[in-house]
Symmetry: C2
Subunit: 231 residues, 2 copies
DNA sequence: CTGTCAAGTTGACGGTGTCAAGTGAATGCT
DNA sequence: AGCATTCACTTGACACCGTCAACTTGACAG
């Protein structure tokens, strides 16, 4: 803390921006909460006076958003890597969903700041998250496995995954399964099977009544063969 | 603001608590954000000095939680009313889910405070929400339509519903369908059909590959008859 | 009339985000 | 070489926040 700093030469002002972002990121990582990210704390850690932060960020919220977005392209990379390993678009979609959940749980502070807060409009983090899932969904539609408007289908998938991880993050004291992956897997299966079925069923159909459960049973038998689901 | 107040007689101290809660609730409703709920604002509106709030609430967060919980039993009533109108347990479950979503969108501030924030443990609002959905799910399991551990199944449904409404609340600027009910209906269908199907399919099955899409198509035809879905 | 105790107030402390004005060194211009 | 400009940053303040210790007020009991 309080590292010495020599004033930047003219034209090198952008260096301070990076230093501030670095200090803020470290602060976030060490404390595990965004409340610790005060302008005074990040300024002191950067070795600079408090109002200097305003030279590069219009206010605290912008700094917070910028530092949280810093980790966001890791999500894109992880998704592309894991999803690219398989050909089946539906399997790729489920891998995207799993990567999404893993990412959120790995960066709970950033995820909360960007997706679980009253963002005036729509946060860039949100549109990025959605974009990846929507693309993977569109591939499934092109392959004929899913039907309908890909964006709409993807919103449903996104809702399910976001709900899952945001509850895990915001309600850590709840009586969850001991292994969060169990919940995540369940939600992925529910969402994947649900959209595949829902996009075929008439719009005003409701979930199965007893007389139709038999149809589900019959269909399930054709699924009997275990398929690897390593995501 | 600044209403006149006569000091309560001994034994009537509890009256102030109600007055504070009322003022806080009004403040929340008028401003639409919990940031406006400062101790000074609620104290002034109650016609009392700021530290008097501490006579009835240990800190600001406790007051915030208490005032947000005030609206929570409305959720219970609404669920019981709407779900009790139908016999089919699966239809009752979908009605519960719809009531849940409507309630969250009707009380976005309260919902955010109680369910989308770093609650040290698990918020009482969360366990109440889950309880209702879990009970409705258990009824479906008893009826043989759903299978497995009701609590686990309910967590998936809860995730889907919470994800849906929490995204609508936190990302109002996103490019949602013009009618939020459209998204909610879609998610309910996805979640309901998905759990009904997922609880029959082997645990390591993934969503349908092309060769299995035919099975879904065949099943969907048995669903052809439109069923009323007025929730 | 006096003592007691609950109910509520006063005044302060340390912390926060934010802004207007000032400083000081490096650079470009003549 | 010397002056003016401009960039990078600091100083000092403001208003507001949650919170606490100490004080005051008023009703009742004896």
């Amino acid at each position: 803390m309080g590292a010495k700093r020599t004033k930047a030469r003219p034209g090198e002002g952008e260096k301070l921006r990076e230093e501030i972002l670095g200090a803020a990121e470290a602060l976030l990582g060490e404390t595990g909460t965004d409340e610790a990210l005060t302008l005074r704390a990040v300024a002191q850690r950067t070795g600079v006076s408090t109002p200097s932060v305003y030279l590069h960020f219009p206010n605290r919220d912008a700094l917070l958003e910028a530092v949280c977005l810093r980790v966001w392209d890791e999500l894109a990379h992880r998704m592309r890597d894991r999803a690219g390993e398989v050909d089946d678009p539906m399997r790729a979609l489920s891998r995207c969903a799993r990567v999404y959940a893993r990412f959120a749980l790995d960066h709970p502070v950033q995820y909360r700041v960007l997706l679980m807060r009253p963002s005036g409009g729509s946060s860039p983090g949100a549109v990025a998250c959605f974009r990846y899932l929507a693309d993977a969904t569109a591939a499934c539609v092109r392959a004929g496995i899913l039907r309908g408007e890909p964006e709409i289908l993807a919103m449903g998938l996104w809702s399910a995954m976001h709900g899952c991880v945001s509850l895990l993050i915001a309600q850590p004291g709840f009586d969850w399964p001991e292994e969060p992956e169990a919940l995540i897997d369940g939600v992925i299966r529910m969402a994947g099977l649900g959209t595949a079925l829902a996009c075929r069923v008439p719009r005003d159909a409701i979930p199965p009544s007893p007389e139709l459960a038999a149809g589900l049973d019959e269909l399930a038998t054709t699924w009997a063969g275990p398929r690897d689901f390593t995501g």
